[in-house]
């Protein structure tokens, strides 16, 4: 019998099998091949972004849980979950000249404070955004990155006191969470040059300036300046203004001739953010390489790459009219240790904060 088997018998069976089962397998194989090829194509496109982003994103918030607060129902500072498509979340936006251009007496780089602090609460389901500016000179207890109570200071100093990078961000988050009893889900820190690059990358922004912003002693310490103490003249006139990156930074940073001082800057900062959102909402995923290139080394965030598309989508869905602007003004000028500071009326401030940032 065995001799009777033709050598071609098994081959015929294999051939027969090749025609039936492998056909399905072949189709799957081809599909898989196309998918893999597409993924490789996409990865190769996003590769520069991935490399850049790895250095800037994914920094987790590592803040110890706060000490029990007297405020009933106060939120925890425990790191929270990544936002879903519908759950509200809060982002702390920080802007500063924390680029080490100054040095300490020992010659080590001196990292400064978070000059701009804006809490942004996004409610995707309601299509609503609330922006709340925290005055940088509010005199409050400062906390370390690990949540340890330090001395009192200006709220913005928490960032610089902790050094640079994500440790500064964590200290700033701990300070704001502890002092204002809010939960911060994510943070984004951007440097001066990063803001310039970002605005230039989207072709500038358009605003209506409310009053002349004048300054004969504006710090010219970016955009090619080699002297951190150099100065420039600034005049942004009221009315329709198209601002490039440098001009937009001048607009949000100038304060010497502004009676409103930091309040004026807070208003202008939120105004520029809304104008920037308008431009960013026109972006697609394909723009992420340009964006990453513009922000390389000038941004820190814990927002994972995978959430960028969600944030872009939210940005497109929320109109300017759905953005609520809140400015803390419940303070009085004071002098502490020779420093001009703002003495907060914390009970009044907490009432405002909890109105817009409900305790979770």
């Amino acid at each position: 019998m065995s001799l009777g088997r033709s050598p071609g018998g098994p081959r015929r069976r294999r051939a027969s099998g090749f025609r039936r089962i492998p056909r399905v397998r072949s189709i799957l194989l081809v599909l898989l091949g196309f998918i893999l090829s597409g993924v490789v194509g996409a990865l190769s496109f996003f590769w520069p972004t991935i490399i850049t982003a790895l250095g800037a994103t994914g920094h987790g918030i590592q803040v110890s849980a706060p000490t029990p607060s007297a405020v009933p129902g106060s939120p925890s500072a425990t790191p929270t979950t990544v936002p879903t498509s519908s759950s509200p979340f809060t982002v702390l936006l920080m802007g500063s000249d924390n680029d080490g251009k100054f040095t300490t007496s020992s010659g080590a780089p001196y990292f400064c404070c978070a000059q701009s602090l804006i809490l942004v609460r996004v409610n995707p389901a309601a299509g609503a955004v609330t922006m709340l500016s925290i005055p940088r000179d509010l005199w409050v207890p400062i906390y370390s990155a690990s949540g340890e109570r330090m001395s009192d200071g200006k709220v913005s100093e928490a960032f610089g006191d902790a050094g640079d990078g994500s440790s500064g961000a964590n200290a700033q988050i701990a300070t704001i969470e502890q002092d204002f009893q809010v939960t911060i889900d994510h943070y984004v820190w951007i440097g001066l040059q990063g803001l310039i690059n970002l605005i230039d990358e989207v072709g500038g922004i358009d605003i209506v300036a409310s009053h002349p912003v004048m300054d004969d002693n504006y710090p010219y310490d970016v955009a090619g300046s080699t002297n951190p103490y150099a100065a420039d003249r600034v005049a942004v006139l009221p009315g329709a203004q198209h601002l490039d990156g440098v001009e937009a930074l001048q607009y949000v940073r100038s304060r010497h001739d502004d009676l409103s001082s930091d309040l004026g800057r807070n208003v202008r900062q939120q105004q520029v953010l809304v104008a920037l959102r308008q431009k960013l909402s026109q972006l697609s995923l394909g723009d992420i390489n340009n964006l990453a290139s513009a922000l390389s080394g000038e941004v820190l965030t814990d927002v994972p790459l995978t959430q960028f598309s969600l944030l872009l989508g939210i940005s497109k869905d929320v109109g300017s009219g759905s953005i609520q602007h809140v400015y803390l003004t419940q303070y009085s000028p004071a002098t502490v240790n020779g420093q001009d500071v703002l003495e907060p009326d914390m009970s009044a401030i907490m009432a405002v904060i909890h109105q817009y940032f409900p305790a979770s």
């Binding site: 081809v30 005049a235 001739d257 104008a275 394909g286």
Partner: protein, 387 residues
């Protein structure tokens, strides 16, 4: 299927797979270039949607342009720092400001073809690069009866003589001279043929947008502290935080030269936060830009186009009629017959400022704005509309 055919088929599939991967890569790349491509064009390369009667002179990207019908002519090249063109009455040419960014700005006279006829101010005063306080800004030129020239100038400044204190207080006051006079810091400082017309509220930005009246007197905008303890406000803005700044349109009916405190009369209220006045030719209507104010805080994302009747003889302003709302309107200009308006506002969908037109702005029950220009990003100065 024969082995060679199978081999050929798989080779073809592999090639298609590779092509697909490359296609995905290129598709993403194409997406990036379209979103980041400049959305604006040179004015001479854009399509004008609506033909307006007469000629409109406007500034864009540091250049000067003239729009006649649907044709745009370049008068001065972009990047030249040109802004704020105004017409010299009586068939004369144009005045325009040329800005040297971060330093100073000067006033020039041009003919209507854009050729520079004369430099009327010399505002670069610094000898060394660090003497920033020695430079000056000149903006908002306006020519009144008898070739009287009004302009905003950042003098007097605070503590210019003290380097340690220098350069913090820089506000516009309105000055007046005769068209053609040499405008320099020294001549302004020593009132040599140049007289101060308004006194800025310190640290507010000061006084801008002078509009001379035919019968004498001046409309202008001053910026004031809404809180009311240091400014000129008679009625503090309710709910305003300390140091909030708002604008008011004022009328100085009879200029009292070099008399501090000749602030004139406020025509608008602090809660209206109005600025950028444009007077129609027979001086019976004022178009302006007013910002909605909520809880004592002016909006930073919305500004309305407003029209109100005006009686120059009595200096009274009628009720404010907000004819265009819900956008960022700016820089209104009347037609020569005083019925229609053009103004700047963003095109829907992006933030770029374009020229818009409103027919019968004072009589229409439901004014409807039509977009005039496309693919531009006009700067903050009002256009000039002439017959």
């Amino acid at each position: 299927m024969s082995r060679p055919r199978r081999l050929l088929t798989w080779t073809l599939i592999l090639v298609l797979m590779a092509a697909f991967g490359v296609g995905v890569n290129r598709y993403l790349a194409i997406g990036s270039t379209t979103a980041f491509a400049p959305a604006t064009k040179k004015p001479t390369q854009t399509n004008v949607r609506l033909a307006l009667p007469g000629t409109v002179y406007f500034a864009d990207g540091g250049g000067l342009f003239a729009l006649t019908g649907t044709h745009i002519t370049q008068l001065q090249a972009e990047g030249g720092g040109w802004t704020q063109p105004v017409l010299i009455p009586g068939g004369g040419g144009l005045l325009a400001v040329k800005v040297t960014a971060n330093y100073y700005s000067d006033l020039y006279e041009l003919n209507r073809s854009g050729r520079v006829e004369a430099q009327l101010s010399h505002d670069s005063g610094k000898v060394t690069a660090t003497e920033l306080g020695a430079d000056d800004w000149l903006y908002y030129p306006a020519v009144g009866p008898g070739n009287t020239l009004y302009f905003s100038y950042d003098w007097p400044k605070g503590n210019v003589g003290d380097p340690a204190q220098c350069c913090y207080q820089v506000d516009f006051s309105i000055w007046e001279t005769t068209l053609g006079a040499d405008i320099t810091r020294a001549n302004v400082q020593h009132a040599a043929g140049i007289t101060q017309q308004s006194w800025a509220n310190y640290y507010t930005g000061g006084d801008v947008s002078p509009v001379p009246l035919v019968g004498g007197g001046l409309l202008y905008v001053d910026y004031e502290e809404a809180y009311g303890d240091t400014g000129q406000l008679s009625t503090p803005l309710a709910g305003a935080a300390e140091s909030t700044v708002v604008s008011q349109i004022r009328l100085d009916p009879k200029p009292r030269y070099n008399v501090a405190g000749s602030d004139g009369t406020a025509l608008t209220q602090p809660q209206d936060d109005c600025a950028q006045p444009a007077l129609n030719p027979d001086e019976t209507e004022i178009a302006m830009i007013c910002t909605p104010v909520a809880n004592g805080t002016p909006s930073s994302t919305e500004s309305d186009l407003v029209v109100a009747s005006f009686d120059a003889a009595t200096g009274t302003l009628g009720p404010l009629d907000r004819i265009i709302t819900g956008t960022m309107a700016a820089s209104p200009t009347w037609s020569t017959d005083g019925t229609d308006l053009i103004y700047l506002a963003p095109e829907a969908g992006d933030g770029y400022f374009e020229l818009w037109y409103v027919k019968d702005a004072t009589t229409s029950l439901a004014p409807h704005a039509k977009q005039v220009t496309t693919d531009l990003d006009l700067d903050g100065s009002a256009a000039v509309w002439t017959s």
